[in-house]
């Protein structure tokens, strides 16, 4: 029985889009506070490696998941110490974090390469089984992270746009000096944004190793952290648009695999290129308009109230 192309692509897009979405949400929070973390790839790797190692050592994928979240948060706190407390250059610090992630994940994961784990459990509500085609695909047969991906995106949107905390974070991202003058503490808000973003990044990595592939291999993220950084730009720093973005970027990968499986001969590389070209077009179309643009203070260092 052949699944229609659209359903196959959608199923694949959800599976590979899950980790992209968590990583994108994490980076969105961080960038909304005025900090860009180019080292997201390293955070994902640490999450994937720590999650897998703990799951393999303890026999519990849930413990692995918790450890990955904690490791991701800690990784971003280290980054925060550099860029918030020590006021270091953000781009250079991010690349340093990337190298740190390469090294630490390799060291932590080395003893567990080839280990066999029981991954995160998946379940599909029985009433969905009856839908046509669903039974033969991965649709709606998801682990907890995938089921919660969209609710988490909504939660992040709510936290950023409907709470006093989110108002503070965004104010810091626009102008730390103004936020400071308004009685908010930019450093504290940035640390909070970084740690919550790091937790999401750790979960993104853990989804790759604990659910999607059930293995750990060096550099298994294969650029997904960088894709998430592009996704933040594509979704214009907005958590809800990130859902569509993650489906689009995940869908591009799923589409090229599905097309191959149907014997089509469109080059996979042209298909993979499409989302990036689209991102640039979106930027051009919206270019110049201040509304919906990058946080004004993104990438700048705040030296205090002076």
């Amino acid at each position: 029985m052949t699944t229609p192309l659209v359903l196959g692509v959608l199923a694949g897009a959800v599976l590979s889009g899950t980790s992209l979405l968590y990583a994108t949400l994490g980076e969105t929070i961080v960038e909304r506070s005025g900090i860009v973390n180019l080292g997201l790839e390293g955070i994902l790797l640490i999450g994937a490696s720590v999650g897998f190692s703990v799951a393999a050592a303890s026999g519990s994928a849930w413990l692995g998941l918790a450890a990955a979240a904690a490791a991701g948060g800690l990784g971003n706190l280290l980054f925060g110490w550099l860029v918030v407390t020590r006021k270091a250059n953000q781009l250079a610090s991010g690349l340093a974090m990337m190298f740190f992630g390469f090294g630490v994940s390799a060291l932590v994961g080395a003893p567990y390469v080839g280990a066999v784990i029981v991954g995160l459990p998946k379940w599909r509500p029985s009433w969905l089984d009856g839908l046509p085609w669903v039974r033969s695909t991965t649709l709606f047969n998801y682990d907890l992270l995938t089921w919660l991906a969209v609710p988490v995106a909504i939660l992040v949107w709510w936290a950023l746009f409907r709470t006093r905390w989110g108002l503070g974070v965004r104010a810091v991202g626009e102008s730390p000096a103004a936020a400071f003058a308004a009685g908010r503490n930019p450093a504290v808000l940035q640390y909070q944004a970084l740690s919550s973003g790091g937790v999401l990044g750790g979960l993104a990595g853990a989804h790759l190793s604990l659910s999607l592939t059930l293995t750990w291999a060096e550099y298994m993220t294969a650029g997904r952290g960088f894709i998430a950084i592009a996704l933040v730009i594509f979704s214009k720093w907005h958590p809800l648009r990130a859902i569509a973005g993650a489906l689009l970027f995940g869908g591009a990968e799923a589409l090229q695999l599905q097309l191959q499986a149907r014997g089509s001969d469109i080059s996979p590389f042209l298909l993979e290129m499409a989302p990036y070209l689209l991102t640039i077009l979106v930027l051009l179309a919206w270019g110049g308009s201040r509304r919906l643009a990058a946080p004004a203070s993104l990438g700048r260092t705040f030296y205090g109230s002076d």
Binding site: V113, T213, L257
Partner: protein
């Protein structure tokens, strides 16, 4: 007083000797260097070499093994091999197909170091080539898949479209066709030997498109086998016969490598100063082994597979003309054949394979 001093000096001399002794005792008769493209614990390709070489180092006294994992098929490879030579390696195994250019350059610079490259091409005085002839061995795998499939659609995930991988796919399809005229094989290329997330995506895509048996040619079969197993599909393993542990329900059978006897012979010949560079391609029963059948495989199918194994072992070459590619063109006229030593050059899919080489 004198006695005491003598005792103390004697004590320190003893300690010194004990400390230094290992340095003398350790001087090995042969250092073997190995370069792997992935991790040695990958449940697959790299582990097969690691296990064999460790066995050689254990069984032959005075042989020491130096290994480098995760070495990309780029400028890095040449540097690592040069490093192994600097460390005293006299026999080097570049074990990935993409190391060809780098290994040949290093071999040219160091005529006193012997190389055994897992691939094809010209040999030189100090440069031998070898590989397991897995292609013919995939024929019986195809027989198994062709009998077990219900949808008549078989899937195959390959990392990079090198000749060996295409040969594996082709023999698989021909074996399946021999028992099931409706069998087709769908190929998905991930673009790397170890992109785990894409491997999972590829396996899912194949199952979505109706394939119910999946074979693979990537470094580690673990991700694909586990993905297929979780969705109730069947798999044919590759690289490691241990991989059957990953699929208690859907495992049919699989192929693994047994390099140790050949590696041992090579190591002995190097130590004796009698290395002779050859092109060595050995198939079933020598470098290639078949894994046990899974519990779900009926006796009738096992019988057919075993018959095919016997046929291949007695010299049957599936790549014998007349043979058409999947575009309908004749690639092998009657009587022509492709031998194991030319397998690296294969650049076509046989009729019944759904996929494009370029």
């Amino acid at each position: 007083m004198r006695n005491k001093l003598g005792f103390i000096i004697g004590f320190f001399v003893l300690v010194f000797c004990l400390a230094v002794k290992p340095a003398f005792a350790d001087s090995p008769r042969l250092i073997i260097g190995a370069v792997y493209v992935g991790s040695v614990n990958d449940y697959g390709y790299n582990r097969s070499f690691h296990d064999a070489l460790t066995q050689v180092a254990r069984e032959l006294p005075g042989v020491k093994l130096l290994e480098a994992e995760n070495v990309p098929e780029s400028t890095e490879a040449e540097r690592v091999m040069e490093g192994l030579v600097q460390q005293g390696a006299k026999l080097i195994f570049p074990t990935s197909f993409g190391y060809s250019d780098s290994a040949r350059k290093v071999a040219k610079r160091h005529r006193d170091v012997c190389f055994e490259y897992a691939g094809d091409g010209d040999t030189a005085k100090n440069f031998g080539v070898f590989f397991g002839s897995t292609q013919a061995a995939w024929y019986p795998m195809g027989v198994a898949a062709g009998k077990m499939t219900k949808s008549n659609k078989l899937g195959f995930v390959i990392g990079l479209p090198i000749g060996y991988a295409l040969g594996n796919v082709n023999a698989f399809q021909m074996g399946a066709r021999s028992v099931n005229p409706k069998a087709q094989t769908v190929v998905v290329v991930t673009g790397g030997w170890s992109d785990k997330a894409k491997e999972a995506g590829a396996a899912n895509a194949l199952l979505d498109q109706g394939c119910d048996v999946v074979g693979m040619h990537v470094d580690s079969p673990a991700t694909i086998i586990q993905t297929v197993e979780a969705r109730g599909g069947m798999s044919i393993g590759f690289q490691s016969i241990e991989a059957r542990a990953l699929a208690p329900k859907g495992w049919i059978t699989g192929l693994g490598f047994t390099w140790a006897p050949f590696f041992k012979d090579v190591a002995i010949s190097v130590m004796a100063g009698k290395f002779s560079a050859q092109a060595v391609y050995q198939g079933l029963g020598q470098m290639v082994a078949i894994a046990p059948f899974g519990a779900s495989v009926p006796a009738e199918v096992q019988g057919l597979v075993n018959a095919a194994v016997t046929k291949v072992a007695s010299g049957f070459n599936p790549f014998t003309g007349p043979l058409k590619n999947n575009l309908g063109n004749t690639v092998l006229p009657p009587g022509a054949s492709v031998g194991a030593d030319q397998m690296g050059n294969m650049n076509w899919y046989v009729d019944g394979v759904i996929g494009k080489v370029r």
